[in-house]
Structure formats: C-alpha cells, structure tokens
Symmetry: C2
Amino acid sequence: MTNKLITIKDVAREAKVGVSTASRALGGYGYVSEETRKKIQEVAKKIGYQYNLVAKGLRTSKTLTIGYVMPNIANPFFTKIARGIQDIAFELGYNVILCNNDNDTIKTERLFKMFFSNRVEGIIFSTPYNQSLEKMTEIAKNIGIPVVNCYGSTRVYSSDCIIGNSEIGCYKAMKHLIELGHRAISILKVRNSGISRKRFQGCLKALDEYGIDKEPELILDVDDFSIINGYLAAKILMSQARKPTAILALNEQLALGILQTIREESISIPDDLSLVSVDDVLAPYLNPPLTSVSIPTYELGKGAASLLINRIENENKIKYRRIELDEELVVRATTGGIINNIQKRR
Amino acid sequence: MTNKLITIKDVAREAKVGVSTASRALGGYGYVSEETRKKIQEVAKKIGYQYNLVAKGLRTSKTLTIGYVMPNIANPFFTKIARGIQDIAFELGYNVILCNNDNDTIKTERLFKMFFSNRVEGIIFSTPYNQSLEKMTEIAKNIGIPVVNCYGSTRVYSSDCIIGNSEIGCYKAMKHLIELGHRAISILKVRNSGISRKRFQGCLKALDEYGIDKEPELILDVDDFSIINGYLAAKILMSQARKPTAILALNEQLALGILQTIREESISIPDDLSLVSVDDVLAPYLNPPLTSVSIPTYELGKGAASLLINRIENENKIKYRRIELDEELVVRATTGGIINNIQKRR
DNA sequence: GTGAAAGCGCTAACAC
DNA sequence: GTGTTAGCGCTTTCAC
C-alpha cells in the first residue's frame, strides 16, 4: 500500500530547480530567492510532499528528538513534568519520547539503549537512583549526549540539573504546624530515599529553630512511598501512648493511607488531628482538601527542556548548571490550631 | 564532541567479514552461521557499537515508531491508556511518541504533520471529534498509515476501533440507584459530547426498563466536562423545588464539582444524597470514595496497540475491526438506599 | 553462507 | 543564488 514516496527530487523536478535549491527552500536554511522559495513551497504543497525527518536525521545526525525517563507514565506527578517538557520541546521543534522505567535497572538500561539507537539528541530523567541509570548516563555523556536531571536522583552525574528546594518546602510545612501550636508532630518518612532525606532535613531545621526536641516515637520510617505504608504507620501512631496532634507525611501516597486510617477510626480533621502532605497532585481534589507542599512540576519540566535544548544547540559546551525552584506550602482544610484541638477534646 | 560514530562497517572490518554479513548478524535476519554471528556480536559489544535505527528507518521505511494523540498528557485518564499502549509497544519493539492536542484543530494538524515527517508507522488517537482530526486521519489512510481509535470520537474514520461500552456502564449505574429505591435521580450531562450522549442512552435504557419517566427538571446539560460546571449544576439542583435524592454525573470532573457544592451546603453523603460518577480515576482516593463507573483504560490502551501493530505488520490489509470492552460499576461509599435516606430525614 | 555494490532522501561542499 | 555530486549507515538483490 505504501505508495512511492514523494521526495525533494520530485519537488525539484516539478518546480524546475536543482535539488539543493529545493532542499534549502524546504529546510529553511541557506540562500534562496524569495521568488523561487515561494514557487517551491507551492509545488511541494500541490504534490503532497512530506518532509522526511528520518533522512535528515541520518544525514545531519540532528534527529530533533529527546528522550524522557520517568518512573511511571500513569503517575500524574510525572506527567505534569512531562507536560512542561513537551510544551517547550514542541515550541522549539523537538519531539519527546516518553518512557517508564518502573524504577527497574533492566528497563532503564533497555530504554537508554533504545534512546541511543534512535539517536536522541538529549535525555531528561526524573527517576530515583539506580545503578543502570548511573552507568547509562555515564555512557551517554561519553558519546556526547547531554543528560538533564529533572527532580531525579542527585547522586548521578548530569549535564545540568533542575530540582525543587525540598528542604524549604518541608521547612515551611513544619513551621506552619509549629506556629499553629503543635508540639507532638509526627513525621512519616521513607528509608533509603534521597528525596525523603532532604525533606526530612527541612523538618529538622524548623524544629531546631523553635528549639523543639525531636521525639523518636513520632518519627516513623517506612519502606516506600505507598498508600498501604501510610495506612499502617498511621494505625501504629494512633494506637501508641504518645499520640501526635499533627502528622506531616513526606509524600502524597503516604497521606492517602493516613486518610484511610483516619476514616476508619473516625478521627476528625483538623479538630483531632492536623495533616500535611507533600506533592500536591490529588491534594486539592480530596475531601477535605489537603494542606500540602506544592512542587512546581510543570515549571520543572519546562526548565529541564530549556536547559537541555539550549545545551544541544550549543553543542554541549556550556558549563554545568543547577537550578533550584522554590516549593510552596498551600494551606487548605486539614490543618488547624492546637488550641481548638484541646478545647474540642474536653 | 560527537565522536565519529561506530558503524556496521567498523564492526565488519574488525570481525573480518563483509558488511552485509555484519548487517545480517546485527539486524537478526537472513542467513549467518552461528559461529560468525557470535563473533560479530562480540566485536560489536567490544568496540561499543550502537545500532542505528535512523539509518534502518531510511533504508527500510520501518521506523518502529507509532504516534499517540490524546487531549492532555497531564490527565491520568489518558495516561492510563498511554501506559497500556507503551507496555505493548515496547514489548514488540516499538517506540511511542505521545502528544497532547488540547482538543485544538491547529495543534492536531501540526501533530499529524510531525508524525508524517517522522515516518511513524501507525497512529492511535483518544480524542473527541475535531475537523483536523477527521481530515488528517483521512490523509494518513491515503498514504498508508493505519489509524486506531482508542476511546476517541467514533465520528472519524479509523482502521480499527476499540472503545468501552459506555451505554452498559451507565445503565448499570442507573440500575444500581433505582434498585436502592431512588426515583428522583438527577443526571448531569454535557452538550455536544458524543461520549456523554452514549452514556445518557444507557441511563435512559435503565429508566425505561423500570418504567420510570424521565423528569426534565432533573436532567441538566452543561457546556463541558469541568469542575466548575459540576459545582454550578449542583447548586441549581439543590436549590430547586424538585430536589434529587441521587445524582449521576457523567464524568469525574463534574462529580468533583458536585462534591464541592455538597461540602459547602453540608449535605451528607450518602444519607441525604447518593452520588455516582464515571471515569474512576480519582474516585477510589476521594473521601468518601466514590461509587463510580470504571472504564478499563489500561486494557483499552493495550488493545489499541495490539490492533495497530498487528495491522502494521500485516501490511495494513486486514478488515476493519471493532472491539468493545465492558465498563463496570464499582460500588463504594457514596450510594445508599432511599429508605435510610427518608428515615434519616425524619 | 557470504560479499560487492546500489540506493533509501536528505544536506553540504564546492563550482558556476 | 543555484546546481552537481558525494555520502550519512543501513539493507537488499544478486553473484559467488
């Protein structure tokens, strides 16, 4: 069925010009007189010519394609980043191949190989650390493909890096709770997660500033960012002697789990307990809407794409750049003062 | 920086074989003795050869790439479909270019042209009707690129089509409400939306089956699937003389808006009012979790990719296929019996 | 089983 | 300003 393709040669013949002139007119570079350019474009349109980027890619090794690796394409947190990347990339004439790696080393390696085979001109990643990521990133660098880290693991080398200021976000969240009068503040964090660690730093800073000692009983470590772990941790917290008056969950999945426990145990929010989450993806839509640390995902994506394409077009010879965007606290309906809290209990 | 690329020629020279033999070994086709194949692969690995899909694409016009158009990449409903498409495509060695069209004709046209220039081998769309979609789909067909409709507008031509049985989903939802004893059931639908129309058909069928007349006052038409329209419609419903005891919102955004009204007016769910939604993206995470018609998005995506790649590999000469997947009703916490309802009111 | 050579559609020297 | 020509890296006859 694939009819013979119409090429630049056909356009050139039809327009009675040489192929290079046609190429210049259609590719939009070099010298062509306004008159002939017009004629060539008309002919191209008339005979249904479709520019062939594959051939251009082979010839110039400019494929105008970049790759993006995220943990899961079905996770809205990352697709908001992806949206930012796409918007900028498309504006500048680049295509994006979006991929999941499911935080898996085998898949990561396969994806990078696929990127190499497809001759992507640059790669953006938003994934936590894994060995393949580090290894393949190193290879990419060696073959001249720039890599930008967009809210991913800062443990791996990258050409540029754009992240959120995770410390400040959680610092603001803690401060908010402390100023509402809370002292028994529980923090739900995740073992072996770089991002959780940074967020926790912010929490400690706030506690420190107000001279509040951290209470080991109230700080829980779980294995991963999952609803079930949030749920179980909250069960533990609410059954122990030292109960928190507020919980800061260092991720939204954990907060969702906590909400489930809260519902089951008929705890009232924010009267009995205040809750703050991080990520702010579902938070605005929940009932009640969650007070939450908001990460500028869309802007991170836009920034990453700008950094990358800028580097691609400057032949990769720019110095390493690092951008940090502020994270904001959005106060909604799940945080309240400790005073109300105590009054209500009586 | 882009060091001279390592090509099949280099591999051939190093392995002391001809280029065509190297090509056969690396491309995995044609006759090569087991022995030489092994040697060639070893050499390739040793000297860091990266297969060049761009060159292959030019030579064979098989780019192993498909395009996917959805309204918005940041919308989880579509990314669940995208995830299904990707999982199948990757398994079969294909890459996917995912794109937003924002339901805009200009963008749609631009995307299709980009697909053509990139020589994608097939296209999947999940978008509502627009003129460009119809026009560009027609062009794709003419140049031999198959197009699969995945839960998109059935008004446009496609090579194959996979959709949810929207009638049955909403039929089940209505039936559920009727059997709980509800008679004053409000339906929130959207003007000029094909999918809303089909869902509404299902509602009518259930009413019909139980011999219940539809009440025009309870059936509201809004302009689009948005939170604000759900919110406003619910305000109207709850302020009119004939109040519903249940609302079926034909989309989740509308349901989110309704929830907001419910919160503001301190209406209790499901005691004062039952609520059913469609789409089931956020529904399980909301508080209370919504009873909702669930659309098998992931399966739709997988199915679409299978249909498309199957067609690509059979050179597009299969008959038109149409697959309909069932939509299920998931009963959660927002629907209750009218009996309780009345008892509580007293 | 293997190799030589032509060519996919484009661009980039270079000559005119 | 424009045309001629070589060649990007691969696959594909067609001999051998």
